[in-house]
Symmetry: C2
Subunit: 221 residues, 2 copies
DNA sequence: GTCTATACGGTGATAGAC
DNA sequence: GTCTATCACCGTATAGAC
């Protein structure tokens, strides 16, 4: 109310921030593509700018440092991942076993499990030890997902009248299993197809929860 | 017989190659230490030379390229790993379940599972997609271990009178599980202690092989 | 064999025109 | 906001003395 004077501004604030968001997104996507093509150490401000069809200058204008740009790219990758499993969880209904199965199935969805996506995961993880910023980002998102997995496992154990104190260990194990199969897909050693990896994971889940074999039945048959 | 002329050479051939092997080893260890301290992209010929107490020139003299030196370091890391699980397998005797347990236990032995060792694993894996040489080395050694794991699983299944065609899937799953727990230890998210990771893995093995609960009993109790 | 000195290209980040 | 031009630095690999 105090600023109702003057006419329409030629460049309202909203439009500026929208442009900024657009450019940031453009650069982040370019960074992800560059990582897939050139690896993380092979990704430079030059490769990102070329991939984005922009100059090197705009990259530093919007992200100040290369590390900031890469961190934003990692966050974007994790956000996609999280959106994927959250949607799967929402669609799964209330049955704990179905929720657990949905979380596992989501991990082998092409959008997060493709070879391209795997390259990005492992590139960032590989540098996490020498770049604390990457490690913090990974840790934050990994916690969300671990909590969801543990909650689903705990609900299932409770439903079955079993010891719920096992939930954390089982959740960690299931997450380990899917991550390890991701590694095999990434390195193209052992299991190489997502569908096969999902079948193996379900085989383990049937052993862990023999009371509910149908929910973790062999998929795709 | 054609070269029996002349006296004793001041520098016999064997001594030269021994010196070469010594220097190579010295540089390889220095490279591994540098990777642990500075990460793989942060490892340069300068950091390796400093760590080895040698000049930068000798590194290229013995390995020609930086990539060659790093590849040798990766091979060394895998050789240690392989030696570790082969010894465990030899000591395990003939019982298939014991052999399987020994392979798993070996994976969480400090020498291959320490945080330092994990940094090396994930640093190389992270670059495997952009460096085919690294990928080939990893693939070669991973195959040895997969085969051993699958063989142990197959023997156990046969002993129990179960379907041996499952051996490959179970082997891949067990390997995935241990690798995924390695990742958690490395990222310090979820399971962080090797002993805990081993307990989780054994919990899964008890579910998969309920006929032999004692062999995969909770360790360290 | 081992060293120092150096060539040469590419890196992240800055400066300043438009 | 976006660009080009440029800086200072550091990377690998080579050359050549010892």
């Amino acid at each position: 109310m105090s600023q109702d004077s003057g006419g329409v501004q030629p460049r309202p604030r909203k439009e500026r921030t929208e442009n900024a968001a657009r450019r940031r997104g453009q650069l982040i996507e370019a960074a992800l593509r560059s990582i897939i093509e050139n690896g993380l150490p092979g990704t430079t401000l030059a490769t990102v700018a070329r991939e984005a069809g922009l100059s090197q200058g705009v990259a530093v204008f919007y992200f100040q440092t290369k590390e900031g740009l890469l961190a934003a790219a990692l966050e974007r990758h994790y956000e996609r991942y999280e959106e994927n499993w959250r949607q799967a969880l929402d669609a799964a209904g209330d049955d704990p076993a179905e929720r657990l199965a949905a979380l596992v199935r989501a991990d082998f969805h092409p959008s997060v499990c493709s070879r391209e996506a795997q390259i990005v995961w492992h590139a960032f993880w590989g540098e996490a030890s020498s770049r604390p910023l990457f490690n913090r980002i990974a840790d934050r998102f990994d916690t969300h997902r671990s909590d969801a997995l543990e909650a689903a496992a705990a609900a299932l154990l409770a439903e079955l009248g079993r010891d719920t104190s096992e939930a954390r260990a089982l959740g960690a194990g299931i997450e380990g299993l899917t991550d390890g199969l991701w590694l095999q897909i990434y390195l193209a050693s052992g299991i190489t197809r997502p569908a096969e990896a999902l079948a193996v994971t379900f085989r383990f889940l049937r052993a862990l929860f023999p009371e509910r074999p149908a929910v973790f039945g062999a998929p795709g048959d």
